[in-house]
């Protein structure tokens, strides 16, 4: 019997592209995802970074970095975690595993979608900062912010994926907020770290968001020290959560 069904590399590549396209389209059309992910950080920045500050102040620039970090985490946690939890419950993940979808296409699709959304959030915040906030940034710094957004979302994709394997269905967004909001606070995204109690300050490097924030601060020219330890820490977080999530998915499906 002809058991070898080969597929041309071109068609395999086409399947990956279709998966990415579908994943992006379905979320662009879902206001329940788009609105919180884009509005949370931009509205906060407008209130605290623009309205309550002098235009062009250091605070406005500092807050642009930390709200970008805050905004970039959302698409990773929710795009990955909430959707995985819901699709595990609804049977979509099972169907995709039964279909001859190329391996990894499911995760790649979500990853590209999250990177695109994170870049969009960073671009929206930059637009607000550069216009209403009176922040001035060189084109190189603007590019660095967008890159920090696009790639900085990845460890949070992995974290979201792990949370998505712990819980099924509609309970996931609640659990994700329990991770998202305290983590943002504890890594100095809402209040500068120096305003937090000493033990909490010392604990900050435990959170991946702290390390991403050091990168966005460096991108707006307010960095301190070398960047590579933070890049390394983020890569380690991403790898660790990815391994944990993959192991749980294999075990519990």
């Amino acid at each position: 019997m002809d058991a070898t069904i080969t597929m041309s590399p071109r068609r395999v590549a086409g399947a990956y592209l279709q998966e990415i396209r579908s994943e992006c389209l379905r979320y662009l059309r879902a206001p329940s995802f788009i609105l919180p992910v884009t509005l949370f950080s931009t509205v906060f920045y407008l209130m605290f970074g623009v309205l309550l500050n002098h235009s062009g102040s250091d605070a406005s620039r500092y807050l642009l970095a930390s709200y970008t970090t805050f905004g970039v985490i959302g698409p990773g946690l929710f795009g990955f975690g909430a959707s995985l939890a819901i699709e595990r419950e609804g049977g979509l993940l099972t169907l995709k595993r039964a279909l001859p979808m190329p391996p990894g296409a499911y995760l790649l699709g979500k990853m590209v979608m999250a990177m695109g959304m994170a870049t969009l959030v960073a671009a929206l915040l930059l637009t607000l900062g550069l216009t209403l906030g009176g922040v001035t940034l060189s084109p190189a710094r603007v590019l660095a912010m967008l890159l920090a957004g696009a790639f900085g979302v990845l460890p949070f994709c992995a974290l979201g994926m792990f949370v998505g394997t712990l819980i099924k269905g509609q309970g996931a967004p609640g659990l994700l907020n329990l991770v998202y909001l305290p983590m943002a606070f504890l890594s100095g995204l809402w209040l500068p770290l120096s305003m937090l109690p000493k033990p909490l300050q010392a604990m900050a490097p435990v959170w991946p968001s702290y390390h991403l924030n050091q990168l966005t601060l460096a991108a707006v020219g307010m960095g301190q020290g070398a960047l590579w330890p933070h890049v390394l820490a983020l890569a380690a977080f991403a790898a660790a959560f990815l391994v944990l999530a993959a192991r749980r998915l294999r075990r519990v499906g």
Partner: protein
């Protein structure tokens, strides 16, 4: 269908345990090229687990699963199958045409989109978002996704749940067309008339094993039951206690008696209730055969 051809899908001595529960008990099952096989059995009989193992969703704890002679977890073997699961919440914001295009992209030589849509009767839904469709329409879309890759083997898990009679018959016609093209089908269903209408071979499962298998006629013949239906005041429970009566109950106000000795039971019924009317006598369908086989299995256990 040619029995000498190697099976398109098979389970060989597959055992699957979940804690104390044995879902599959050294199960052997083979699907031959081009045949329509119906898997029947009560909930917990092992139908869904069998399908899960055949689709590569679950790796068998012992024994072997093969799809086209390969490991089902190998994506290449799954490029020849189509799948419709019992429940799959597809992305609500994607349009039907987009879902079809995406699923077709997984296959080496899919059907043209219009052909898939036509076969499944969703041509008029292509631009509609999936989430806006009725339950029956969503099932039709899922069926279109199952057949869009031009599979040699189709898995249909309870395909007509939630469909009205007309939609169900359209789906049956489409399944017959696919079988006519040489596609093998594994169908699980609770609607016995569905197996009766479609299946060339029926496998009845219970407690993770094959209880019996054969054609619909074989199966009916094996239990040789007749169904008597009538309007009567007789107490169903009392009738159930008569000799030769396998079962007796009230359905929609009528007395329904299942028996292997129709003549003697009829005589007694007519004697016992002279006012008896609207009498119907017919050979038992698969439903009664199935009830009888499950009962025999329980008694043997």
């Amino acid at each position: 269908m040619n029995p000498s051809m190697p099976p398109v899908a098979e389970l060989v001595g597959v055992t699957q345990r979940y804690g104390a529960l044995t879902a599959l008990d050294a199960l052997d099952l083979a699907v031959r090229p081009g045949e329509l096989l119906a898997l029947l059995g009560p909930n917990g009989a092992g139908k869904s687990t069998s399908i899960g193992v055949l689709l590569g969703l679950v790796r068998p704890q012992s024994g072997q699963a093969r799809l086209f002679g390969r490991d089902p977890q190998d994506v290449a073997s799954r490029r020849r199958i189509g799948v419709m699961l019992q429940s799959a919440a597809l992305p609500a914001t994607l349009r039907v045409g987009e879902l079809l295009r995406l699923t077709a992209s997984y296959y080496p030589a899919p059907r043209p989109l219009a052909e898939s849509a036509g076969l499944a009767g969703v041509d008029d839904l292509l631009t509609r978002p999936y989430g806006k469709l009725s339950g029956g329409q969503q099932r039709r879309v899922q069926f279109a996704l199952a057949l869009c890759g031009r599979p040699d083997l189709l898995f249909l898990d309870e395909p007509t749940v939630g469909m009205d009679i007309e939609a169900r018959q359209k789906l049956w016609a489409a399944i017959r067309t696919l079988v006519g093209e040489g596609c093998a089908v594994v169908l699980t269903t609770h609607y016995l008339e569905e197996a009766e209408a479609l299946a060339q071979r029926v496998v009845v499962m219970g407690q993770g094993r094959v209880l019996t298998e054969g054609s619909v006629d074989d199966l009916r013949g094996r239990v040789g039951m007749t169904r008597i239906r009538c309007l009567s005041d007789l107490d169903a429970e009392a009738v159930a206690g008569w000799t030769h009566v396998a079962a007796a109950q009230r359905e929609e106000g009528r007395l329904v008696v299942t028996t292997a000795a129709a003549e003697s039971v009829l005589r007694r019924l007519l004697d016992a209730d002279t006012a008896l009317s609207e009498l119907e006598v017919r050979r038992a369908g698969l439903a009664e055969a199935f009830v009888e086989l499950s009962r025999q299995d329980r008694e043997a256990a």
